[in-house]
Symmetry: C2
């Protein structure tokens, strides 16, 4: 059996997994991405984890490589560059540094880097719902909003290798200030962070009763908004409606560029299910240019959240 | 020598040309798209023109086919569907009707249909500046705003065949009402029509002196705004600045999806040259997500306007 290491670097957590060629994750571990002083220490820890994963299962000779999905991961250069939601800033030479460290430890492995959302899209293509879908967009709703775009069966990297940033398209030119320094990005409304901002604004600017009025401002999370929505909380439901509406405009704009057959939602906020999905479908149809109406299905990803990213990253090695 | 017929259907004019395989347009004719009662009469006239072009040069046996670039032209179905700027509404079976008419006239020719902007992009790829460019976006600034998107050397058609509608992405959710029924489309600001709306609004809502204040409202065109700008008219220059700013946001959003190396501008309004191009470059850089800054060149198309579309359409036959 051939194995590969898949690593999903998120703004909050990093997940490392050992996947076999049939898509089974044999071993998996999660740790905080932010718990290190700098990128060097983080990569050193990552190297140790890789070595432990490889040696622990005694498959040293049959490991194909290391695939990494990371925010602003660049496939061409093997770097992570200026990721707004990552603690480690600037250009990080992930591929080179990690390959060197592994090599010095006597372990020569190919390291491949791409955007975390691209990795998820590859995971969906190989192991998920997108096996027979040639044109789709994977939207990851986590700390930020990422996306991986597949056109005619191939991931779109573009000239820079950074293609597919639906989360940083602007839907409100004078809107909320984004971590990226600009205003009105989709991410600022449709991420786990964005929905919390919306909820706090709604609590502040309206008098509508809400279960969340008794919650301390710091305790409001996408999860607590979801829990309130499940209990029928009117303001929480409005918050999901607004979030869906903003995301819908970003999705409609992107769909007018590449005309996907499917949109897959992935990541923390997508677990809200119909609370997000139902208004999202409605608003996306409303926002779409007429020739695209009724041509796009929006669905939840077919993969277990963490496995998808790990498998997508692992699939980069093939 | 092999020939093909290239037809560019615009909202205002239709251009038909006979192109040889080296990209020379041997004969060309232009007529009003709107001068017919219905699509049937228009296509009948088009058939007659095609037959005249073919018979006139005695190359009947070596004509490869007919390529057509049209607004909302669908490559997969050979149709023109619900084009907002076209007089003829609904779904027009251009390929089927025209091929039937030609066949009945004893002329069996393959008819291929695509978006007019896609045809221009193909023209740029084969005969223009994009010969060695793998990732680019062609933006056509005419009565409307069209676009043809090339990713990794291939035109993006998407699931529906309608991909590449940058002109109908929304940059201002509560903005100007567009012909397509939605609000705030790029097209409503950055087309020849859009810049005239902007100028009229500026004349109405400001007291700034302008050469165009003496022009009757009906006489204001993108050309007269350009002429005023050349004479240093402050309001006309502001009008170009605003138009560029709106277009820049649409381009930046599209660029964040496919990460092009080049943006080519094509069509009537692009003839304004630096009056549009200079502010457009500035604002696009400002609007771009940081990882895309300084990676995209915005240039005017390398092709003569009408030849590019005709050649692009003709190239569909190869």
């Amino acid at each position: 059996m051939k194995y590969s290491i898949g690593i999903d670097i998120g703004g909050t957590n990093t997940v490392i997994g050992l996947a076999d060629s049939e898509g089974k994750v044999k071993r998996k571990e999660k740790f905080s991405t932010c718990g290190f002083d700098n990128a060097e220490q983080y990569l050193e820890f990552l190297k140790e984890k890789i070595l432990s994963f490889i040696s622990g299962v005694d498959v040293f000779d049959s490991v194909l490589g290391v695939g990494i999905g990371a925010p602003n991961g660049n496939y061409y250069r093997g770097t992570v560059e200026h990721a707004p939601n990552l603690k480690y800033k600037g250009i990080i030479q992930v591929k080179q540094i990690l390959a060197d460290k592994l090599s010095k430890a006597g372990c020569k492995l190919q390291v491949t880097v791409t955007n975390d959302a691209n990795a998820a899209a590859i995971g969906e293509m190989i192991y998920g719902k997108a096996k027979d879908v040639k044109d789709f967009i994977m939207i990851t709703l986590g700390t930020g909003v990422g996306s991986g775009i597949v056109v005619n069966g191939k991931l779109v990297y573009g000239y820079t290798g950074f293609a597919g940033e639906v989360g940083h398209t602007v839907i409100e030119p004078e809107g909320r200030l984004c971590n990226c320094g600009r205003r009105g990005c989709v991410e600022r409304y449709a991420s786990a962070t964005g929905i919390v901002i919306t909820m706090k604004e709604m609590l502040e600017h309206t008098k509508v009763p809400s279960l969340l009025r008794d919650t301390g401002s710091e305790q409001i999370t996408s999860r607590s908004i979801y829990d309130a929505a499940v209990k029928g909380d009117k303001l929480a439901l409005e918050c999901f409606d607004y979030t869906a509406k903003r995301l819908a405009l970003g999705i409609a704009n992107a769909a007018e560029i590449t005309s996907p057959q499917k949109i897959y939602l992935f990541g923390g906020l997508s677990k809200s299910g119909d609370y997000l999905l139902k208004p999202l479908k409605k608003y996306t149809e409303q926002y779409l240019f007429s020739i695209f109406r009724d041509t796009i299905d929006i669905e939840l990803s077919g993969l277990n959240e963490e496995d998808a990213a790990v498998l997508g990253a692992a699939a980069l090695c093939y």
